[in-house]
């Protein structure tokens, strides 16, 4: 498969994945673009991997947790391009508190939560993606859940009073 075919077929899925990961559509677009530009450079090597999309997803997670907003990242728009599309609003009122709390989690914790609850990966698989041990993954998820539970119960308590 050529890089162009891969990008055309999988770009939307990768953008969805990155948006879930980052909770920030702009950053998601930056990350996916940056990763795909780098992937293009090494496509012959990556294509020979058993699952190139998994490689790209791992690269997106790594780019997110170890971030440096490098330069190929930004989506530069010369004039004459189609008008920009406004980013949709955050989720509705029922989810806004959880969304806010999730977006404040440290990046590695958020990545671990997304890989567990969105990707359905096991601790061992998450550890492989994040480059840490399975026990560290459990610790990330446990801390994140504790933080979210406390905050949510606090929020509900406030609502009740």
């Amino acid at each position: 498969m050529e890089f162009e075919e891969f990008a055309a077929a999988r770009l939307q899925a990768l953008l969805r994945y990155a948006t879930v990961l980052t909770a920030d559509p702009d950053l998601a677009q930056d990350l996916v673009q940056d990763v795909l530009i780098r992937v293009h450079r090494r496509w012959r090597h990556i294509e020979s991997e058993e699952r190139p999309e998994q490689y790209v997803r791992r690269a997106i997670v790594n780019a997110y947790v170890s971030w440096r907003r490098t330069w190929s990242v930004r989506n530069l728009v010369p004039f004459g391009s189609p008008p920009e599309r406004a980013a949709p609003d955050p989720p509705g009122p029922g989810q806004s508190e959880l969304w806010l709390r999730m977006s404040r989690l440290p990046r590695r914790q958020r990545a671990a939560v997304v890989l567990r609850y969105y990707e359905g990966l096991s601790d061992r698989e998450i550890a492989e993606v994040l480059g840490c041990s399975a026990s560290t993954v459990r610790s990330h998820i446990s801390k994140a859940l504790a933080h979210l539970r406390v905050d949510l119960s606090h929020h509900r308590f406030q609502e009740a009073t």
């Binding site: 939307q12 879930v20 909770a23 559509p25 989506n75 530069l76 728009v77 979210l148």
Partner: protein, 305 residues
């Protein structure tokens, strides 16, 4: 009532709906790939020229060729022109006195302002093989604070009597070390092996070089970062702000947001996708306000430090 885990699943699923459209992202990828190719081509041409020059020009004595670039202040005219913003500058104070053979300086990058907690300002120098078809390279960064050290999988490393952390990296495959050099300066070195990273780290001396572009323009946006790459004959500069980018290269066009800078270089200004932008007239006004102070030249590109 739903459990926290169920609420998280629901939230993450609904988050998908906020994803940008592929049709919006694809042009940026194509432009990025084209930019990448131009940079690599420029580097290849520069390498060819360098090889040809090396036949007749004596090799520069190691460590003696590079002096700190003048800051914009030094080149500012005696009577400041109307534009209020002086080109972005950040100084890297940590320089190597040893690098693997065959590497030349191929880029400088700086984040002048910290734009996100945990991601401090920095100045980075990149060294790559003179032959861009070869892999491998070195990055030396002077961070204002500790940055992105993994919480696990690191080991203590000793660099010039200072203890820091070292860890293996996967993309690109190699090794990274980071050590607090002094207050406000954290040294970060990436290389293909631990031994190389440590040897470079132990060769570091305090020597200032500037990451800057001597250009001023109408002050209407904060520009916080800069990247210089390409070759001396065909430099490629990008500056990023909260609402705009400025790209300097050899591409000529008739857009009102493009400004000729002389020496075959043109500045192009535009907006960043997905972010608040100004009316086009403001970008045109910024382009018209561009002034160069001093020669737009990057003599360090393609050379050893």
């Amino acid at each position: 009532m739903k459990t926290t885990e169920e609420q998280i699943r629901d939230l993450l699923t609904s988050e998908e709906l906020r994803a940008p459209l592929a049709a919006d992202a694809m042009p940026g990828i194509h432009r990025g790939i084209a930019r990448d190719k131009r940079r690599r081509t420029s580097a290849l041409v520069a390498a060819t020229i360098a090889v040809a020059a090396a036949i007749t020009v004596p090799i520069v004595v190691h460590g003696s060729s590079q002096h700190p670039a003048k800051t914009p202040t030094a080149t500012r005219p005696s009577k400041p022109v109307t534009p209020q913003y002086v080109g972005l500058t950040r100084i890297s104070t940590l320089a190597p006195t040893w690098l693997p053979a065959g590497l030349v300086e191929t880029g400088r990058e700086a984040q002048v302002l910290s734009t996100e907690p945990g991601f401090p300002a920095f100045a980075e120098r990149t060294f790559s093989p003179a032959d861009p078809r070869k892999d491998g390279g070195v990055g030396i960064t002077d961070y204002a604070a500790s940055a992105h050290i993994p919480k696990t999988g690191t080991v203590p490393v000793e660099v010039s009597g200072r203890t820091g952390r070292g860890w293996a990296t996967t993309d690109p495959k190699g090794y990274e070390i980071q050590v607090k050099w002094k207050a406000g300066h954290w040294l970060d070195v990436t290389a293909d092996t631990k031994a190389t990273a440590l040897r470079i780290g132990n060769s570091i001396v305090e020597h200032s070089v500037a990451v800057n572009v001597p250009i001023t323009f109408r002050k209407s946006s904060t520009v916080h970062a800069i990247n210089i790459s390409g070759s001396r004959k065909a430099p490629f500069v990008t500056m990023l702000g909260s609402h705009l980018y400025i790209e300097i290269n050899q591409t000529r066009d008739s857009e009102p947001t493009t400004r000729a800078l002389g020496h075959g270089l043109y500045a192009h200004i535009g907006s960043l996708a997905g972010r608040k932008s100004y009316p086009k007239a403001e970008y045109v006004a910024i382009a018209e306000s561009f002034r160069i102070h001093g020669k737009l030249d990057f003599p360090w590109l393609g050379k050893r430090p």
